[in-house]
Symmetry: C2
Subunit: 452 residues, 2 copies
């Protein structure tokens, strides 16, 4: 059954909560997936959400907790005693979710919760995971996986899988290891089912297994899993011992997350926001890059101010200020976005930096030429000043070329310096190119108008 | 083993090709994944790529074909006779890949290839799939899946799975159907392994299965699979009969594809391009939105031209043209991006249109007020004209408010009209707000400078 969360559904639920129809609400919740309950809780008032949450049993309650937005979850957990968090939530969770949630708590509470976990093995797994960088393979992997020894038979394997499978929701692949727990290969469940029980694992497993290291960046993990269409990938340490596995759902989150980050950057938004967020959240997300725009605008005002005399002489010079600024901005954003997206896609590029520069220059020349000629034709027909006509076209060509080259090279340089190249898209590159474009335009105009 | 595609690797391969060391190259290719071979072929010259490709056996050759960029694949297929395409590629492929590739051919060639397929069942599956909209669930699903009847026992099931599994690379889930092939539920391989062989399927399968219809849009399929962490989802027709399944790898492609489309839109790029594409491809991707910018720039020139007299009176008015235009553009892009991203995430919103407008207005007022006051302070210190000082601040407030509201409402309206809301991000909204902002600023300046 697919759920349709309509306004009627929500209104009906609200009425049941108001009338304290505990039985009905409980029945309804039993049928719903944790992700749906979390979504409903976000729409309800805090009181209503609490009412629902307290009706959930331990496992469902911890599933819902994982689905809640980070802010809500933190506020909620900070109101609960550590032993409750350990016993009611953490012990029900997969190690990666448990580590994520503990990582959101402050240091003291994290320690208290860890100390309250009854099962030392579970606590140990979480402590191990907390060591890794959040955005590395170690930071997104789970400890739960099914592994078998290469020397076993299919029968032993099936028995061992039944035992291990209790902790693992979905198996996907069985990893094959040697006596030192070093990863040797992979075995599909299909192969296990299709072979006779006396077959030895070492005769049927696939040695060609893709893996990542605990310190592989998450974006790279996503690229590898996407490229090879992997539903899960094993994670190994420096000497090849099997440490955990990453599944496709974690990677879908990474892809979405990285895409949103780049999208926000090019749109001039800081942090993650949605249209339904609070006014102060939406404002806070907008102000930083608008400050960059304001600063650029003030610089622009000073650049024009420095040319006040020529502006007074030929006021028509001002007509083309928005055109130059807009074209410089647009070309810069285009160039930087192409570079950022190419880097994000993980497609390798075998050309040298000089070849890259030459390519970008060629595109810039062609594009610049097209639009310079168009504006030249326009001005030849509509403008009175031949000097201004030439000045605008020549400036546009130079400005578009420089904007394009800057737009390509700055993200590439940032990438080399291990800084997120997406910083140099959107408002940053627009503002830089606006100011540069204006300066070039006004200088060239002055030259032309002085001499012609 | 993980492959590292270095320049040395490529250079070495080139040398082997040049020396016609067929055996060595063949051995190397045997070890490589199809995705890697496709990547290598893109770096090589056309002649070298052909040399490699002809050394591949049928199955690997068709795997590589799927991984090639669409342009290259089409050019390549157009050079081959239909019977070769049918026998060497199509018959080795999953139905969804086969349909995608046939869909890229022109009508006549498609028909010829279909007629050359020996196995009527395969041809029939492909013809069925070609009926669906490319961006719907039907368009991305594969016909290959494993399904069992609810009345069977685990033993019968395992036997039937062995039979069906030949066609299906990865099983993930076994779908349970009734005698009419209507979807009843799902069964995990894990459950199948962990139950005794005499158990009846109807006693162990899970009725709570998520599904989509053949006409569900692909973006919605991706949202559902992401939300519920599904590795595969069954696709049913209008009356609930099982028609196919969509796997996580198809959905990763959809997520990436949709994110790239939105990113390109906000960056002013048409179509899909990468930094390594040819100069004319990169230029073609840039020109359309730059045309919009040029058009906006010319409109801007005319707006300013209409106020030439006041500009001559107070040339300082021109100083703030870039500031107003930049702020209007940035605010507009921010607003539209937040809306587009919220729509893309599939998060449902239960507020009325009036509540939405009120929220956007509030954010616009707060943001507008912050920056108006900042530029007011700047001008009170640095500007000589009190009239201009007030005019700039008041204009900035009004312009930012209008830009913000437009930026939010236009994508929402497009979405209502079933047009991709992402069209109204980036250069479109920037240009619109530039021209509007300029008009408002110059009108208000004129008012103030006339009366003060």
């Amino acid at each position: 059954m697919n759920l349709e969360l309509t306004r009627e559904f929500i209104d009906n639920l609200r009425l049941q909560i108001e009338n304290n129809q505990e039985g009905e609400v409980k029945d309804l919740l039993l049928e719903l997936h944790a992700a749906d309950i979390a979504e409903i809780m976000e729409v309800l008032s805090l009181e209503e959400a609490k009412y629902i949450y307290l009706l959930l049993d331990g496992e469902k309650a911890s599933d819902v907790l994982i689905e809640l937005p980070e802010d809500d979850r933190r506020r909620f957990l900070n109101a609960l005693p550590p032993e409750y968090i350990a016993r009611q939530f953490i012990e029900y969770m997969d190690s990666d979710d448990a580590a994520d949630i503990l990582g959101e708590l402050d240091e003291d509470r994290k320690k208290s919760v860890l100390n309250e976990i009854g099962d030392v093995e579970i606590a140990g797994d979480i402590v191990d995971l907390l060591e890794y960088d959040e955005e590395s393979a170690g930071g997104i992997m789970a400890k739960e996986l099914v592994s078998v020894n290469e020397n076993w038979s299919v029968a032993t394997c099936l028995k061992e899988i039944s035992r291990q499978a209790e902790d693992v929701d979905d198996i996907y692949y069985v990893y094959v290891v040697d006596d030192d727990n070093k990863l040797k290969g992979v075995l599909s469940l299909k192969k296990l089912i299709l072979n006779s029980t006396s077959t030895l694992i070492k005769n049927i497993f696939n040695e060609d297994v893709k893996w990542v290291k605990t310190d592989t960046p998450q974006a790279e993990v996503a690229q590898i899993m996407e490229k090879y269409d992997l539903v899960a990938i094993p994670v190994v340490d420096e000497i090849g011992r099997l440490k955990g596995r990453i599944t496709f759902d974690d990677v879908m989150d990474v892809i979405r997350e990285e895409a949103e980050r780049d999208y926000n950057m090019v749109s001039g938004i800081t942090g993650e926001v949605e249209a339904s967020d609070k006014v102060w959240q939406l404002t806070r997300a907008r102000v930083p890059w608008l400050m960059v725009g304001l600063f650029g605008g003030i610089m622009g005002a000073q650049v024009i101010g420095a040319h006040e005399a020529s502006l007074q002489k030929v006021p028509a010079t001002a007509f083309f200020i928005p055109l130059i600024a807009a074209m410089a901005g647009n070309v810069g954003v285009q160039s930087s976005s192409i570079v950022v997206q190419t880097l994000a896609s993980g497609v390798r590029d075998y050309t040298t930096p000089w070849q890259k520069l030459f390519k970008q220059l060629s595109v810039a020349f062609v594009t610049g030429a097209i639009f310079s000629v168009m504006i030249l034709l326009y001005n030849l027909i509509f403008s009175d000043s031949l000097g201004l006509t030439y000045a605008v076209s020549i400036s546009l060509f130079i400005v578009m070329t420089i904007a394009s080259v800057f737009g390509s090279l700055i993200p590439l340089a940032l990438h080399k310096l291990k800084i997120d190249p997406a910083v140099a898209t959107g408002p940053f590159i627009t503002t830089l190119n606006d100011v540069l474009g204006l300066t070039i335009y006004l200088l060239i105009s002055q030259l032309f108008l002085d001499f012609i």
